[in-house]
């Protein structure tokens, strides 16, 4: 099977990789680029564990064919921290114990980042709707919502 050459910017770095056309972007990120932060939960766009930002919009990388990424700018959870300093969302998830097993966490972080990028002061209801595409079987969601509220507060203070 011939492989297609893809050029993207991932987490700030120009990145090239080869992929088979029918491969999901999620699998290409994990297996070709070596970024294993995004997880596969359902593979059908229901659980949000594979959420990444593509051209600043949150999307399920399991629903994208890898060749669609050509020419795009991608942010994965690996690009969230700034030179070793955790992003306020990551710090607040950590301090607020907003995770247990952690499989869903990269997806929640990226969906929350997309929300706070466009709405720095969301209500609890807005946070719950914005995270409706992310499933968590451990936390009961409450600590996640509170961590996002805490991070939003901190980010507005800067």
């Amino acid at each position: 099977m011939p492989r297609t050459h893809i050029t993207t910017v991932i987490n700030g770095d120009e990145t090239e990789f080869l992929t088979e056309d029918g491969t999901s972007l999620l699998n290409a990120l994990r297996d070709e680029v070596g970024l294993t932060g995004a997880k596969e939960g359902c593979g059908t766009g229901d659980c949000g564990a594979c959420s990444i930002l593509v051209d600043d919009r949150v999307t399920c990388s399991c629903l994208m064919f890898a060749p669609e990424a050509d020419g795009t700018t991608i942010l994965t959870v690996e690009g969230l921290a700034d030179s070793g300093d955790l992003h306020p969302l990551q710090q607040c998830f950590l301090e607020g114990a907003a995770l247990q097993c952690g499989i869903c966490t990269p997806g929640f972080l990226m969906a929350a980042k997309a929300l706070l990028d466009k709405n720095p002061d969301p209500t609890e209801t807005e946070i719950r709707y914005a995270l409706a595409g992310n499933l968590c079987r451990c936390t009961g969601y409450d600590k996640i919502i509170r961590a996002v509220q805490e991070a939003a507060l901190e980010m507005r203070g800067k």
């Binding site: 029918g22 949150v58 629903l63 064919f65 669609e68 409706a132 595409g133």
Partner: protein
């Protein structure tokens, strides 16, 4: 599967004509789950999002034109569009999560041909037209003519929808869409109801359109309910007739989301409520806004 992203409508139609086993897609939010569920893989995946007309949202003095592959998030984020067509904007905004909204499109929601597609009743009541491209040029279909049954459309294999045309909302008119699901977000309609009304100067209903989703093999119009509304001010007796006509027109399935009897009853309730919201919006759109 080979992936291609044509940059023009002509390039796309010639690719489709040359490849009998090709699948066009926009956001792939239905295509990928279907492939993973075991649907035979096409030889060719034709990504329509690199064609300029297919990802655009614009208006002129007479109409809105929405590219068939335009992410539904663009519609809900556009204040002018959402102000003029709140029902259609809300229906489009109910399709899945934010992750899905950034990929899902009116063209995909229509051509996936699910009886439960949220945007379709709202498009039907607004008289939306689909501009369909094929090897011999384009043709224009009413949206209600596109879906012929679950998973089936009237488009040929080498045709696809380029864009939708939506005539400007007239004065004293409004639309609405309501959906019943067993939870708050992220589910498929048990019943969906789209309504649009235009009011006469005396406040009575001059024109009415009502369409239901998830209660028949395709989205259905309810002419008996529409006739019952015209000339009235939607008093209680008229609304009871609307609900009865809506329930009567349903031919739903039993499944885990709802029984036949439940769907019929909910169809009547949602039809009434959607009509009332459309009337309220029509009263606010008095020609100066």
């Amino acid at each position: 599967m080979k992936y291609v992203a044509p940059s023009s409508v002509e390039e796309a139609t010639s690719l489709l004509s040359a490849s009998p086993s090709a699948q066009v897609f926009a956001g792939a939010t239905d295509v990928v789950p279907q492939l993973r569920a075991g649907r035979p893989a096409p030889e060719l995946l034709v990504d329509l999002k690199k064609i300029e007309e297919l990802v655009s949202l614009k208006s002129d003095d007479n109409k809105w034109t929405v590219g068939a592959a335009t992410p539904t998030a663009y519609l809900t984020e556009d204040e002018a569009f959402s102000h003029e067509f709140p029902g259609l904007s809300e229906a489009a905004g109910l399709i899945g999560s934010d992750q899905i909204q950034n990929r899902s499109s009116l063209g995909g929601n229509l051509c996936n041909a699910s009886p439960a597609a949220d945007s379709v009743p709202a498009m039907v009541v607004n008289g939306v037209r689909a501009v369909v491209a094929g090897p011999s040029g384009t043709r224009v279909l009413d949206v209600s003519e596109v879906v012929t049954g679950p998973g089936q459309t009237s488009l040929d294999d080498d045709e696809f929808i380029v864009e939708f045309e939506i005539d400007n909302m007239p004065a004293r008119s409004g639309d609405a869409y309501l959906r019943m699901i067993p939870r708050t977000e992220m589910d498929i309609a048990v019943v969906g109801a789209g309504a649009r009304v235009t009011l006469a100067d005396d406040g009575s209903i001059e024109q009415a359109a009502l369409a239901l989703a998830a209660v028949a093999p395709t989205v259905i119009r309810i002419p008996d309910a529409e006739d019952a509304l015209v000339g009235t001010t939607a008093d209680d007796a008229t609304l009871d007739a609307v609900a009865a006509a809506a329930s009567e027109a349903c031919d739903p399935i039993d499944d885990k989301r709802g029984t036949v009897a439940y769907r019929k009853q909910v169809a009547g309730v949602l039809a009434k409520r959607a009509v009332l919201i459309a009337i309220e919006r029509a009263e606010q759109r008095n020609g100066t806004n």
